[in-house]
C-alpha cells in the first residue's frame, strides 16, 4: 500500500469537511499556505482551526469566514506585528464571532503529544500564576499521584485533519521534513487524517538515519505543490518573503481591501501556481538553495 499522490484540490475536497477541527501546522517554517488557500477556495466553513502560531494564512481563513473557533497559543505576523483579521474577529466579531481557546506553547505541544500518544490528557508544569486558566475551562489542575504536586492538565488534541508542508516525498509517499521541524510530526500522528504538501517528489529521499520522516502509511494524501509554503520558507529551497509579510499588514488592515485581494487572488485562481502569478509574487531564492 502506498499513499495516494494527488492534486491538492482533490485532497482538500476529499478530506476537509465543514465543521471539522483542522490543524495546519508549521512553526514559522514550512507553513502550509497553499493548502490554506485551497480550503478557502473550496469555501469550507464552521471550522475549528488549531495552530500554535496562527499567522497570515490563519488571518486569511478567519477573515474569509471559514472559522468558527480557534485553538492557539500565539497569534501574529512575525517580525511585522498584529494580524488584523484575527484582531477584527476577536475585537469586533467580523466577519463572524470567533470562539477562542487560548493556551501556551508548551501546553499546545503537550496536547498534540497526548493526542499522538493515544493518551486522554497532557500534564505540564505550567500556567503558574497566569490568568489563562480563568478563561479556558480546558486548563485544569491535577495532583501528582506520587508526590501530590499540583500540575496543569489539558485534554489531548485530536484534530479531524492535520495539514503540513514538507520539503519532499518519495513515490511511495514517505515525507521528509528538514530544518525547524516544529510540531508537525505530533500534529499528523494526533489527527484522524493527514495531508502533506511537498516541494517535490523524488525517487530517493536519501534521509539520514535519524531524520524527521513521516512514513507513507500515517498520511492520507501527499500533494506536490512547489512553493507551497510561500511566504514562509522551505529550508534548502527558498527563503522567507519578508516583503510580502510586510505588505500583508497593509492589504489586511481594512475589511474591504482584504476581501477584494482575497477574491481576486485566492478565490479567482484555480491553484497555487496561478495564485502566485496573479498576486505578482516572485518567490525569493535562498542563498545556497539545493533545489532552486
Amino acid at each position: 500500500m502506498t499513499t495516494p499522490i494527488i492534486p491538492l484540490a482533490e485532497a482538500v475536497g476529499r478530506f476537509v469537511k465543514d465543521g471539522q477541527t483542522i490543524a495546519m501546522e508549521g512553526f514559522t517554517h514550512l507553513i502550509p499556505f497553499a493548502a490554506g488557500h485551497e480550503v478557502i477556495r473550496q469555501r469550507r466553513k464552521d471550522l475549528t482551526l488549531v495552530r500554535m502560531t496562527p499567522d497570515i494564512i490563519y488571518d486569511q481563513l478567519i477573515g474569509m469566514g471559514c472559522a468558527a473557533g480557534l485553538v492557539f497559543s500565539w497569534g501574529g505576523n512575525p517580525g511585522v506585528g498584529s494580524i488584523h483579521r484575527f484582531r477584527d474577529a476577536i475585537e469586533n466579531g467580523w466577519p463572524r464571532p470567533l470562539a477562542i481557546q487560548e493556551h501556551s506553547h508548551a501546553d499546545m505541544a503537550g496536547r498534540y503529544q497526548a493526542g499522538a500518544s493515544g493518551l486522554p490528557f497532557s500534564v505540564l508544569r505550567g500556567y503558574v500564576g497566569s490568568d489563562l486558566p480563568k478563561h479556558n475551562p480546558n486548563i485544569r489542575t491535577i495532583a501528582c499521584p506520587f508526590t501530590g504536586e499540583r500540575l496543569a492538565a489539558t485534554p489531548a488534541l485530536n484534530p479531524d485533519v492535520a495539514i503540513i508542508h514538507a520539503q519532499r516525498a518519495d513515490r511511495e509517499g514517505n515525507v521528509l521534513i528538514e530544518g525547524i521541524v516544529g510540531i508537525q510530526k505530533e500534529a499528523v500522528l494526533a489527527a484522524r487524517a493527514a495531508i502533506a504538501t511537498v516541494e517535490e517528489i523524488v525517487d530517493d529521499l536519501a534521509a539520514p538515519m535519524n531524520a524527521c520522516l513521516l512514513p507513507h502509511w500515517v498520511l492520507s494524501a501527499v500533494c506536490p505543490v512547489p512553493n507551497g509554503a510561500h511566504p514562509s520558507y522551505a529550508h534548502g529551497y527558498y527563503g522567507r518573503d519578508n516583503a510580502f509579510c510586510k505588505a500583508w499588514d497593509g492589504i489586511s488592515r481594512e475589511r474591504e481591501g482584504f476581501t477584494e485581494w482575497m477574491e481576486k487572488h485566492v478565490l479567482g485562481t484555480k491553484d497555487h501556481a496561478q495564485f502566485l502569478r496573479s498576486a505578482g509574487i516572485a518567490v525569493p531564492e535562498r542563498a545556497g538553495a539545493a533545489h532552486a
Binding site: 512553526f27 514559522t28 517554517h29 500554535m52 502560531t53 492557539f72 497559543s73 500565539w74 497569534g75 501574529g76 512575525p78 517580525g79 511585522v80 498584529s82 484575527f86 484582531r87 476577536i90 475585537e91 487560548e102 493556551h103 501556551s104 506553547h105 508548551a106 501546553d107 505541544a109 503537550g110 498534540y112 503529544q113 505540564l124 508544569r125 505550567g126 500556567y127 503558574v128 500564576g129 497566569s130 490568568d131 489563562l132 478563561h135 504536586e149 499540583r150 530544518g179 525547524i180 521541524v181 516544529g182 510540531i183 510530526k185 505530533e186 524527521c212 520558507y233 529550508h235 527563503g239 522567507r240 519578508n242 516583503a243 509579510c245 510586510k246 535562498r286
Partner: protein
C-alpha cells in the same frame, strides 16, 4: 546622548547593551524575539562567546549571523548545535530545568514583574486591543532559574494593575511566588531605556537600582504607572564603550541588509 568619550548612542542602544552585559559566558539563555534576541546576540558577539542561546523554535546553541525576524528563521537552525522538536524544547530543555535565564519582552509589566502579552482592556472577551498572546512565556517565566525583562518604560507599559496576567513574576510580592509552585527566582532584573529595576529582597517590589547616563530619578518616575521605589544606593549604568556600540551597529546593519527594511521598524 553623549558620554565622556563623546560617543553618541540611542536609548534603545543603551537598553540593549545594558541587558547584554548581564549575560555571563557559558550561561544557558532561553531567548524571546525582538529586544531580548538583540541583547543575547550582542553578548555572544562581545564578552560571552560561549553563551548557549535557545529559541523556542527548537534551536539549541543558535549562532545567527543576523538577528532573526521570527522565532523560527532558518538563520537560527543553520548554525545551531542541534535542532529539536517543539515538544522536546519545552519538555526536556525548559521544564527539565536546564535554562539559566529566560530573556523576555512584554507589553505591560507591573510592580512585581508580572507580565501581560494577552489583551489590553480589562474584558478578556471584548478586548480593546488583542495582543499576540502567551507563546512560550508562561513556562519560561515559571521554569527558568531566573528571568530578565527588557521593555521600554512608559506609563502605558509600567502599569499599577495588569489588564491580564499572562506570565508570572513575583505575583503579589513577598513569598507569594515561592508558594505558588513556580520554580526559579523569577524576574531578577527589568532593563529599560531609562534604567534598571530589581526586586526588593523582602517585598519583591521592583526597585530602581541604576540609572542610565543622563537620566534622572524624576524622569523614571514619570514613566512609571505607580509610586516607584528607589534604592538607597542608586547605581549608574556605564555608558556604552566603542566596541559594544560598533558590534551592535554592525549586527543591526547586517540584519537590515539581510531582511530589507523590515529590520529597521
Amino acid at each position: 546622548m553623549p558620554d565622556d568619550a563623546g560617543l553618541q548612542y540611542s536609548a534603545t542602544e543603551i537598553m540593549t547593551i545594558e541587558a547584554a552585559r548581564r549575560l555571563k559566558n557559558g550561561m544557558v539563555c532561553f531567548v524571546g524575539i525582538g529586544m531580548p534576541s538583540a541583547a543575547a546576540n550582542l553578548a555572544r558577539l562581545t564578552h560571552a562567546p560561549e553563551v548557549v542561546l535557545i529559541y523556542e523554535s527548537g534551536t539549541i546553541g543558535a549562532k545567527p549571523d543576523v538577528l532573526p525576524l521570527s522565532i523560527g528563521d532558518g538563520e537560527l537552525a543553520e548554525h545551531a548545535d542541534t535542532v529539536v522538536s517543539i515538544p522536546e524544547i519545552f519538555r526536556y530543555w525548559l521544564q527539565g530545568g536546564r535554562v539559566d535565564v529566560g530573556f523576555l519582552g512584554a507589553a505591560q509589566v507591573d510592580r512585581f514583574g508580572n507580565i501581560n502579552t494577552t489583551v489590553i482592556g480589562n474584558d478578556y472577551a471584548h478586548p480593546k486591543v488583542r495582543l499576540p498572546g502567551a507563546g512560550g512565556a508562561p513556562e519560561i517565566a515559571s521554569n527558568a532559574k531566573e528571568t530578565w525583562i527588557v521593555i521600554k518604560q512608559t506609563k502605558r507599559s509600567f502599569v499599577p494593575k495588569l489588564d491580564f496576567l499572562t506570565s508570572v513574576g513575583h505575583l503579589t510580592g513577598g513569598d507569594s511566588r515561592a508558594k505558588s509552585g513556580a520554580r526559579g527566582k523569577g524576574p531578577t532584573a527589568v532593563i529599560t531605556d531609562l534604567g534598571v529595576m530589581a526586586p526588593d529582597p523582602v517585598t519583591r517590589e521592583l526597585t530602581l537600582v541604576a540609572l542610565h547616563p543622563g537620566i534622572t530619578v524624576e524622569r523614571v518616575r514619570e514613566a512609571t504607572g505607580w509610586e516607584l521605589k528607589v534604592a538607597d544606593e542608586l547605581g549608574r549604568t556605564a555608558a556604552p564603550d566603542a566596541k559594544e556600540l560598533a558590534t551592535l551597529r554592525d549586527l543591526q546593519a547586517r540584519t537590515a541588509r539581510a531582511h530589507g527594511s523590515l529590520a529597521n521598524e
